[in-house]
């Protein structure tokens, strides 16, 4: 499989007053195209920080980050924004839908930052994304009119609408009941089976097991990196 992301000796240090906190230390990680990877670990271990750096939402203190063959560690904010827009799709624990926009507009949001799409193409992409998550019939609703599970499905549609290289999911079921959590996880399974690369942070062992590969982090270091047996075979 072709390598999509390569992290080399990545470090993240927070300096607060006189205390230095090493959130991530010597992270070396490679994610391949089409892979479904789960990052797990206890609270405060650094998994969300890692996901933020992977999503170019935060910068590493040192180390290398190669995405699709390009070094992205030192690029400027404008380039980072462009890469986030085209290469990365985000799913957040708290959905992060914009309350003043309806479902259609929320899904449309990443496309509004692109200049290479006509309105018709945009509409088709949005409709297609909403159909994939079975939310086409709620396009005119606002987030406050939806259940948590429905909001997260809309967030998934928003993440996939631009056909990104990788979907980054940060505790996607953390705010959902078990039934809705199962629906969302099934949706991610489906996306993966259709060829999407997914990197998911979770501390739910059942959720983690659905991934092809489980990376375990403890105190900012990768302590385990296991491929699922059936996949290895």
């Amino acid at each position: 499989m072709k390598s999509l992301i390569t992290l080399t000796n990545l470090k993240k240090v927070f300096a607060t007053d006189e205390v230095e906190t090493h959130a991530l230390s010597d992270i070396n990680l490679e994610i391949n195209q089409g892979e479904y990877i789960s990052i797990s670990g206890p609270s405060g271990c650094g998994k969300s920080t890692l996901l933020s750096i992977l999503g170019l939402l935060d910068t590493a203190s040192s180390g290398g980050y190669e995405l699709n063959g390009h070094q992205v560690a030192g690029i400027n904010t404008k380039q980072r924004a462009q890469i986030r827009n085209k290469e990365i799709g985000f799913i957040f624990q708290s959905f992060n839908l914009i309350s003043e926009l309806n479902v259609f507009e929320n899904v449309e949001l990443p496309l509004t930052y692109r200049k290479d799409l006509s309105k018709k193409e945009r509409t088709e992409l949005i409709k297609s994304a909403l159909e994939k998550v079975d939310m086409g019939h709620r396009a005119k609703h606002f987030p406050a009119q939806l259940s948590g599970g429905q909001q997260q499905r809309v967030a998934v549609a928003r993440a996939i609408v631009g056909n990104p290289s990788i979907i980054l999911a940060d505790e996607p079921t953390g705010n959902l009941d078990s039934k809705n959590a199962e629906l969302v996880m099934a949706l991610l399974d489906k996306l993966h089976s259709d060829g999407a690369t997914i990197c998911m942070v979770t501390h739910d062992p059942r959720g983690a097991k659905r991934a092809d590969r489980i990376v375990e982090i403890f105190d900012g270091r990768i302590v385990d990196d296991t491929q699922k047996q059936e996949n290895v075979a």
Binding site: L57, A81, R84, N85, Y113, R158
Partner: protein, 803 residues
């Protein structure tokens, strides 16, 4: 309850910057409100501080629809009204006279009021020494007597307790001092002494009727509408019976307070009240919004309290304690500031006024003010506390406890923020437009073009006593001598005479044009008609546009001639050559006046729109010599240096005739628009206050709204938005709110300015109408860009977790 109060105090002390800001904003709003209420109440709306003062009215007139302060009625009209009127319990008259008082070594000019005994009853005048005017004093041929005002007695006679029975010479005739009024009695405000009113209509033609001021007490229960209707009906009858005298005159009623405040008072007061109400509303919105933002920050705390069983009423009461504390502290500061401002304002106003202030002007803090402050403070507590209290206690507790301030709250709060911004923009737009138009108007008045020079003249008014200067020849001789004497000073360039000066009223007459049939119920046009000396136009640097000026060949026994302004020609002789055309005044001297020249437009009276619209015609002094004239002495040097020259010339020509109102023309012009300047200063304060409140408010609301969207900024950036896109998004969103606010604010501002423009008190302009929205747009832009830039400095990963 005590615990809630302590908690509110602790909250304020914990955040001193927030507390100082809210108290400053509310103090500004309340101080202006208290100031304006007390000022208006003390000068205009409070009943006169005399018995039945609330029922006292002056019957006056509107000429061509305009009310003039100091307007008088013919004695004939008063007597006709008295015979039939049903609305007034008492109706009395007084007249005004010029009194040249000879003190032995000099002659001083004062205003005298001619009155009847009943007038003192009506106005509740009392004598401190001696007695007041009695019925016997009114009889023709009875001894001349005078009652001095307390202030004149103090100033001129050093409070001489033996003054009663002493003789003083007034207008060259001996008068016996029979009384001195009580110190507080000053009715009307310009009077220095009281003489018996001996005017009569017996044997006097209606057009020669003496003019009097008519005051009355409305009968109990009779409304202003009923009385006004009756007066208007009577004047309609006068217009029908005497069209030459009354065709464009309507009856009108004024309270004394309205008369003292002058023409156009009502719209100004209304504008001030609107401004103050808007400023207070703006302050309430600002403080309410600041409290709201703090309440939103404390959402979780409120949710926890609710979860622990706190009743909604208790939560609301706790929030109201906070706004209550802020408003009460602000109220105390505001009343102190308003008290100081009132003292300063009254001092400024009184020193700007060309005449003494009315006796009832008492604008200082009183029990009424404190009661008003208490009521307004209570209203502000409710206004500022209600919104945060409602918002905070109506949220979804589960969502708040689960998600912090996010989730279900954000959309409603966002909508509320938008509404607040729109309201702030609309209010600010109205306020700043109004203030801008007022300041603009006064600025234009201060730099008004009167059509003649005003900067190098010493002016003075001269009134010749009727008993000694009865004939035209006597008057012409006096003024010829006086002018000749003045021109002996080598520093005097020229001496002109005019019945009126720029910024003083001119006589406004009905006129009729030759060859025009005005029908059986004639409605005549009107124009200012001003008597001037031959050299008036040259001395005042007025340009001749057509024909000729007055010359030495225009004499009393030659054709009566007139020079008119271009406006006069444009109004009455459109497309025709006016030279040689004739018109006449419809009352008094009805000689036909032949137009010999046309000059540039000039302005008499305050430079209000309705004065600028008036046309002017000039008559030669030699052909209509008047007893009262103004001198305009042009000087090569500072005109003030000619005062001694004037004094010695006056004494040498006739020592019993003093000059009064001696001042440079420039100062006279400034003084006569003193009231307007005062109003302008108040509106300037309004403008500054409203700008500070509006801009800080808009900035506060916008910045707060954007700060609450820090997480949204994170989301957008996570989805690929670059900094430019984020800025553009927020600017577009903000400008939509700006557009809504301006759609409401601009037309309302234009309407309010339009109302004041009709009264000549404001001047809207393209600069104001475009400048104000542009200024607000700039503030919005800054209010968006600064907080957005702050949000953009936060890495998206942290912005997403921002609470």
């Amino acid at each position: 309850m005590f615990n809630d109060l302590i908690y509110a105090v602790r909250l304020l002390l914990n955040n001193p910057r927030f507390s100082a800001l809210t108290i400053f904003v509310m103090t500004t709003g309340l101080a202006l409100c208290i100031f304006m209420f007390t000022f208006i109440n003390g000068t205009l709306t409070a009943p006169l501080p005399i018995e039945n003062g609330e029922r006292m009215r002056k019957i006056t007139t509107l000429v061509d629809g305009t009310a003039y302060d100091g307007s008088t009625l013919r004695l004939h009209e008063y007597e006709d009204i008295l015979k039939v009127q049903q609305s007034f319990e008492v109706l009395e008259v007084m007249g005004n006279r010029s009194a040249n008082l000879n003190t032995g070594d000099k002659v001083l000019r004062y205003s005298a009021t001619t009155v009847t005994p009943k007038f003192f009853e009506l106005s509740q005048g009392r004598a401190q020494l001696g007695r007041l005017i009695g019925q016997d004093d009114l009889t023709q041929g009875s001894p001349n007597v005078v009652v001095l005002t307390h202030s004149l007695w103090q100033e001129l006679f050093a409070s001489d307790k033996e003054i009663i029975g002493k003789k003083v010479r007034i207008n060259s005739e001996p008068h016996t001092v029979i009384g001195v009024t009580q110190p507080e009695y000053r009715f009307p405000n310009v009077a220095s002494m009281y003489l018996p009113l001996r005017a009569t209509t017996n044997g006097v033609a209606r057009e020669d009727s003496p003019y009097v001021s008519v005051y009355g007490l409305l009968k109990p229960g009779v409304s202003d509408e009923v009385a006004l209707n009756e007066v208007q009906t009577l004047f309609k009858q006068f217009a029908a019976d005497y069209p030459k005298l009354n065709s464009n005159v309507q009856g009108y009623l004024w309270t004394l307070q309205e008369e003292a405040m002058g023409n156009g008072t009502k719209p100004i007061i209304l504008a001030m009240q609107i401004s103050v109400a808007l400023i207070l509303l703006l302050a309430c919105i600002n403080v309410g919004n600041l409290l709201l933002s703090r309440a939103v920050e404390r959402n979780k705390e409120t949710a926890i309290r609710t979860a622990l069983g706190a009743p909604r009423g208790k939560l609301i009461a706790q929030l109201l304690w906070e706004s209550g504390l802020i408003c009460v502290i602000s109220g105390v500061f505001a009343i102190l500031i308003a008290g100081l401002a009132l003292d300063l304002a009254m001092h400024t106003l009184l020193s700007d006024l060309p005449i003494p202030a009315p006796f009832w002007w008492q604008a200082h803090l009183s029990g009424t003010t404190i009661l008003f402050t208490a009521v307004v403070t209570l209203i502000t507590i409710i206004l500022t506390g209600a919104l945060p209290a409602w918002r905070t206690t109506s949220g979804d507790i589960n969502a708040i406890l689960r998600d912090g301030t996010r989730g279900a709250q954000s959309k409603a709060t966002g909508r509320l923020s938008k509404i607040i911004v729109i309201a702030e923009v609309a209010l600010s737009c109205i306020l700043i437009t109004l203030s801008g138009a007022m300041v603009n108007s006064v600025s234009q008045m201060n730099s008004a073009d009167y059509g003649m020079d005003i900067d190098r003249y010493l002016t003075a008014r001269v009134g010749l006593p009727g008993n000694r200067y009865e004939t035209p020849e006597q008057r012409i001789e006096y003024y010829n001598k006086l002018v000749a004497k003045l021109e002996q000073d080598p520093n005097v360039t020229s001496v002109a005479m005019s019945q009126s000066l720029p910024s003083t009223w001119a006589s406004y007459f009905n006129i009729a044009f030759e060859g025009v049939d005005y029908g059986k119920e004639p409605v005549y046009p009107s124009s200012n008609v001003i008597v001037v000396s031959e050299n008036f136009f040259d001395t005042m640097n007025i340009n001749l546009l057509q024909g000729r000026k007055f010359t030495s060949s225009d004499r009393a026994d030659t054709q009566a001639v007139a020079v008119v302004t271009q406006d006069f020609v444009d109004n009455y002789y459109q497309g025709q050559d006016p030279i040689g055309k004739r018109f006449k005044q419809t009352e008094g001297d009805e000689k036909w006046l032949t137009i010999v020249g046309v000059i540039n437009n000039v302005t008499f009276g305050q430079p209000f729109e309705f004065n600028l619209r008036k046309t002017d015609a000039f008559i030669l002094y030699r052909q209509q010599p008047k007893r009262f004239m103004n001198l305009a002495i042009e000087s090569k040097l500072d005109p003030n240096l000619l005062r001694e020259t004037l004094d010695s010339a006056m004494v040498s020509v006739d020592r019993d005739v003093p000059a009064y109102n001696v001042m440079t023309l420039e100062k006279g012009v400034i003084q006569r628009i003193g009231g307007i300047n005062f109003v302008s200063k108040i509106f300037l304060v309004f403008a500054i206050a409203s700008m500070v409140l509006a801009f800080s408010g808009i900035y506060g609301v916008m910045a707060n709204a954007i700060a609450q969207k820090t997480q949204e900024v994170g989301v957008r950036r996570a989805l690929g938005a670059d900094d430019v896109s984020i800025r553009r998004h927020f600017i577009v969103a903000a400008f939509k709110q700006l557009a809504f606010g301006l759609i409401l604010g601009v037309p309302l501002g234009v309407v309010v300015v339009g109302l004041l423009e009709k009264a000549g008190m404001a001047k809207g302009s393209l600069e104001v109408y475009l400048g104000v929205p542009s200024l607000i747009a700039v503030v919005i832009l800054v209010a968006v860009l600064l907080p957005v830039s702050r949000s953009l400095k936060i890495e998206p990963a942290y912005a997403l977790r921002y609470e």
